[in-house]
């Protein structure tokens, strides 16, 4: 091989090595002068072309030009690398915090309420609404509550000076709807209720309920079970089971209490479900014929089920909250968790 070509190959290797170690544009300029300047190593070698034997000149010339192009390409790459580095160095510290524009958070109680309403709407229920200040007739009498039933006691129910009370349940809304409309009726009534309970970990003087009512021809206890099973699975997950136990409420007959299988231990038994695997949720049942008679529905034609549930209770189960008062303190460190 021609010695000139070999020399040029060596210069290319030198240039590449020198460029790789560069860290500034100043060094790059110095390097450019060293190789490509008027007296640079590459330039000088090219000048030596004149001394090459004419028979080799053509081949050597092509090789020399290739080497020169390679050196220039290496310089261009080094320049790009250095410039990118300089931009990066002078760029943003993208790890600094952004200006927060977050959406507000939903309170766990209203989240359960909204979820429940959404599920029941999907099942064909319509939301109904009624007053917080309720007549004793709608809150108790029309619901077949005996005259001397303890729930009417001023120990348990708040009364107002005009003889009304603060509703202790949202069931009076059901009565109001039945009074104003003939069946079929398929409603849920979400809302705030009041009971004269001294606040502690499990009691609150006001709380939220959602109650449902479905009156139609041949509505049965099996339908009630199907409805609550569907609700439980939609709200808490497909594995949740529903258990019915007989109970007593003046408003319904048969009356039941229903339990959900414990979501915390999957029904195996834990501290929250008192080792039973079941969480007591609330009451339900088939609407008592006396209630139908009070609102002018013919109990021979219509049957219906009614159910209720405490929203706080479900929120506490859902989020493993042990003290209901946390839900009304509004400590942002607490609310930020939902």
């Amino acid at each position: 091989m021609n010695s000139l070509v070999a020399q040029m190959q060596a210069v290319l290797e030198d240039a590449r090595e020198a460029l790789a170690g560069l860290s500034s544009l100043e060094e790059l300029e110095a390097c450019r002068v060293r190789f490509l300047g008027r007296r640079g190593e590459v330039t000088l070698l090219l000048k030596d072309m004149g001394r090459v034997d004419p028979s080799e000149r053509r081949e050597v010339g092509r090789a020399a030009n290739e080497v020169k192009a390679a050196v220039q390409e290496a310089f261009a790459a080094a320049l790009a690398r250095l410039e990118r580095g300089r931009s990066l160095a002078s760029g943003l510290d993208v790890t600094l915090p952004g200006r927060l524009r977050r959406a507000g958070r939903t309170h766990p109680v209203t989240r359960v309420m909204d979820d429940a309403v959404a599920i029941f709407r999907r099942m064909g229920f319509v939301v109904a609404d009624g007053p917080d200040q309720e007549t004793v007739y709608h809150n108790f009498d029309a619901l077949n509550t005996p005259e001397d039933h303890p729930s009417r006691d001023p120990q348990d129910t708040f009364y107002l000076a005009d003889g009304r009370c603060l509703r202790t349940q949202t069931s009076p809304v059901q009565v109001r709807v039945m009074e104003s409309r003939q069946p079929p009726v398929r409603i849920v009534c979400p809302g705030r209720c009041y009971r004269r309970d001294t606040p502690d970990a499990t009691h609150s003087m006001n709380f939220h309920q959602i109650e449902g009512l479905y009156v139609d021809r041949r509505v049965s206890l099996a339908d009630l079970k199907g409805c609550l099973e569907e609700f439980a699975r939609e709200l808490l997950g497909p594995q949740v089971q529903v258990r019915f136990r007989p109970h007593f409420f003046p408003f319904t007959e048969p009356s039941i209490e229903y339990d959900f299988s414990c979501i915390l231990c999957a029904g195996r038994g834990c501290g929250v479900c008192k080792r039973s695997g079941w969480l007591e949720i609330s009451g339900a049942g088939m609407v008592d014929p006396a209630v139908f008679e009070a609102v002018g529905y013919d109990p021979e034609i219509w049957t219906g089920y009614a159910f209720g549930m405490g929203i706080e209770r479900i929120a506490m189960i859902r989020h493993a909250i042990g003290d209901i008062r946390l839900l009304y303190e509004n400590d942002m460190r607490f609310l930020a968790q939902f």
Binding site: G98, R105, V109, G124, D223, Y328
Partner: protein, 799 residues
């Protein structure tokens, strides 16, 4: 209601252990509140009689007792209990006894004295919690008796009895239910006992009963037992009562309680000789009449209360509590036993008025089995004669003018199936009702008729009641849930919850966290900053406490409490809302309406750094939040300065939509937040949500996008500070120039050099012609006209 498993087994054959029983009855509607199991005691725990007690030679607190434990003669036991008195019969654990606590008793030398066993307290045997002294057994118990024979293995279950099933308030009632749940009424039987009556004397000759108010006392039975010796009950009786939570008193009184726990009939024993003329009169109290009840308290009565009297004076408050003047004493020799039935509502009233609750009033209030009254009297008389000696006079005085008669109830099979959603074959229905002890008196292809026994006379009245029983005994677990059917459309236009849900979502979307506060407020602070007067506040007549005596008339106090709670815990940067109902009685206002309170305090960007970190949120941040929310609903409220009791003067505004004020906002007055250690000013807004929701959605038809470009020109002027931005915009609008597309402020400059309370305001005016491109000349002309118009109509100096 507590039952002992052993006690129950006197009336029902069952192989179920306590947990099984608890589960079975829970699923039948009788819930368990608690369960306590008495362990099986080891064979080496025996009754021992203390023969001698001497102080321990080496320890002040210990005694050395010589006891007869029934074995090979007296033995010495070291004891630390204070009550190891001579003659007492107490449990003694012999060496090798492994006690329920896990400890094993050994023969040991205690401070130099050999002890051949250990005398036990209740808790050491797992029989209770008492550790104050040795457990004392009845003196009749023979030394050496195995304690496990005296106190057998047992389980006490505390049941939560629903008010519709008063028949569950006794062992017999629960035993009946066990038989029913087991599907076989014949497993249940009433106990048999000798009458112990003497033929020598008749009760009817010894006493008379006069019931003056039969509506309040439908049945009254008196029996007489003479020659009794009042004293402590035997150990079995004392244990039985203690197990179910009743304190043993004396043999006569214990029997009345035992029979009540057995069959649900409350009984009362009078000292016959203390009854004037030895007779009973049942009558209403006179107004202001008094009686000293057994608890020693004198009670003043009204004619609502029913009294049991003798020939001269009241001797008991009927169904609630006996009188102190006629109670059984240790010297009583003749007992008049009352077994009666009283009106539930009347007893409930009396109990409530006097504040007296007893096991007896509890049962009368809920209703007792009027047909068991005679049985209970016979049973108790026999037991008294058995435990206290003496004899029962023949017969009873039974005033029962209108005997109860059974009645039929019919249930249709088709109705059962419709209501329960399961098939109900007639044979299965008959089997279930039969298991409850109901007698089937009629059966057709379509319906079944039963006659109701007296113990179910309060709750089995109608078809629905029978259907409930069928559901219970069929087992609710055996009713499969139907597939919840899909129904089209769950929401209607009049769904008010949807509007509220949307507003909450919109307020969250503008960055506000959701809170919920109590509806009850301190009356003093409930009206502060609300503009509501104290008379307008809704107050429960029976608040939980005076501090919780007012219903919130506004969400402002709740928001202030939320701020206070958080600031006190170092949460200084707050942006939250509450949406809820407020109650108020004020003219022109609905008595219940939905409000939203929005609170803002702290820094805009505490998450950032440098000066930005310290930038405080101000009035315009809150206003912007509301404007952003309204904009999302397509609404642009009018804003004007206003005054409001919650807000600082000069930093308060009202927002109106369609001329109706829907919100007020501002910086909260210093005196409202005096107790809160705010680090930053607090801004609050109060929005009338119902009013906002009532506003018709604005015209939502779209407008074509412009085809030609707009041209912007600035205009600036000096003006007095009293000139508002709003007035400038109004003046621009007043020109009614259709080519002005918009006007927006871009600078306000205040400087002393401007002189006399003036500021410089600068606006950008955007011109656009929808049909062509505007030329410079055209815009210059328009701008000149606007400048002239403003200079003419506003007190400004153009720059």
């Amino acid at each position: 209601m507590k039952t002992s498993l052993r006690w129950l087994q006197n009336y029902v054959e069952t192989a179920w252990d306590a947990p099984e029983l608890a589960l079975r009855l829970t699923m039948a509607g009788l819930e368990v509140e608690g369960m306590e199991e008495t362990p099986a005691l080891p064979e080496t725990v025996v009754a021992a009689r203390i023969l001698r007690r001497e102080p321990h030679p080496n320890a002040d607190r210990l005694s050395v007792c010589t006891v007869d434990a029934g074995g090979a003669g007296p033995m010495a036991v070291v004891c630390g209990a204070p009550n190891c008195d001579l003659g007492r019969v107490v449990p003694c654990a012999l060496p090798g006894s492994r006690l329920p606590s896990g400890m094993t008793v050994k023969r040991a030398s205690i401070r130099g004295v050999e002890s051949a066993g250990m005398l036990c307290a209740e808790d050491e045997l797992g029989l209770g919690t008492d550790h104050s002294g040795l457990m004392v057994l009845g003196e009749e118990v023979a030394a050496g008796t195995l304690l496990r024979e005296l106190i057998p293995e047992d389980a006490v279950i505390d049941w939560e009895v629903t008010p519709n099933r008063p028949d569950w308030n006794c062992h017999i009632g629960i035993a009946r239910e066990i038989a029913a749940v087991a599907g076989d009424a014949s497993r249940f039987r009433l106990p048999e006992f000798p009458s112990r009556e003497t033929a020598a004397a008749r009760a009817g000759d010894w006493t008379r009963v006069e019931v003056r108010d039969p509506d309040l006392c439908p049945r009254y039975i008196a029996r007489i037992i003479r020659n009794v010796r009042v004293g402590p009950s035997p150990e079995w009786m004392r244990r039985a009562l203690k197990a179910v939570g009743i304190r043993p008193i004396s043999n006569v009184v214990d029997v009345t309680n035992y029979v009540m726990m057995e069959c649900g009939q409350p009984l009362h024993a009078f000292d016959y000789d203390l009854l004037h003329e030895n007779r009973i009169v049942v009558r209403r109290a006179a107004e202001g009449e008094t009686i000293v009840t057994l608890d020693g308290v004198e009670r003043t009565l009204t004619p609502d209360a029913l009294l049991i009297c003798d020939g001269a004076k009241p001797v008991a408050l009927a169904g609630v509590m006996g009188g102190a003047n006629s109670e059984i004493r240790s010297e009583t020799t003749t007992v008049l036993l009352e077994s009666a039935c009283f009106d539930p509502a009347n007893i409930r009233r009396t109990s409530r008025c006097t504040g007296l609750n007893s096991e007896s009033s509890y049962r009368f209030e809920r209703g007792i089995d009027i047909e068991m009254t005679a049985w209970a009297a016979r049973r108790a008389a026999s037991l008294i004669a058995e435990l206290a000696g003496g004899e029962v006079l023949a017969g009873a005085v039974d005033v029962y003018p209108d005997p109860w008669r059974t009645f039929p109830v019919t249930a249709r099979f088709a109705r059962i199936e419709a209501l329960l959603g399961v098939t109900a074959p007639p044979a299965a229905v008959a089997r279930h009702l039969g298991a409850l002890g109901l007698t089937v008196t009629g059966m057709t292809d379509t319906a079944i008729t039963v006659s109701v026994p007296s113990h179910r006379r309060y709750d089995l009245l109608r078809e629905a009641d029978l259907i409930e029983e069928v559901a219970r005994l069929h087992g609710l677990d055996n009713i499969p849930g139907s597939q919840a059917t899909a129904v089209l459309g769950g929401m209607r236009a009049d769904d008010r919850y949807y509007g509220i849900e949307q507003v909450r979502a919109e307020l969250r979307a503008v960055g506000l966290d959701e809170t919920l506060t109590y509806s009850f407020l301190n009356p003093a602070s409930a009206v502060q900053g609300t503009g509501v007067t104290e008379e307008q506040v809704v107050r429960p007549v029976n608040p939980l406490s005076a501090e919780l005596g007012a219903m919130r008339p506004s969400l402002i106090p709740g928001a202030l409490m939320t701020v206070a709670h958080n600031v006190a815990r170092g949460n200084d940067h707050l942006a939250f809302f509450e949406l809820g109902r407020v109650l108020v009685h004020a003219p022109g206002l609905p008595e219940e309406r939905n409000q939203a309170a929005v609170a803002l305090t702290g820094c805009r960007h505490p998450e950032r750094y440098g000066s930005e970190k310290a930038e405080e949120a101000d009035f315009y941040d809150l206003k912007g939040i509301l404007e952003g929310w309204f904009a999302a609903r397509g609404l642009a409220p009018d804003c004007r300065a206003t005054e409001h009791p919650a807000f600082e003067a000069g930093q308060c505004a009202a927002l109106a939509l369609g001329g109706r004020e829907v919100a007020v906002l501002g910086r909260v007055c210093g005196d409202l937040v005096a107790d809160i250690r705010l680090k930053h000013p607090l801004y609050l807004a109060l929005v009338e949500v119902d009013a906002v929701l009532a506003i018709e959605m604005p015209d939502r038809r779209h407008r074509s996008l412009p085809l030609y470009p707009a041209v912007a020109r600035d205009i600036s002027f000096l003006a007095g500070r009293e000139l508002t931005h709003r007035e400038v915009l109004d003046a621009i609008r007043a020109l009614r120039e259709p080519l002005i597309e918009s006007a927006g402020i871009f600078d306000i400059y205040e400087d002393d050099t401007l002189g006399g309370n003036r500021r410089s305001m600068a606006y950008t005016i955007t011109y656009r012609d929808p049909s062509r491109t505007l030329t410079d000349e055209r815009v210059n002309g328009l701008q000149e006209r606007l400048r002239a118009h403003l200079a003419q109509t506003l007190p400004i100096t153009l720059r």
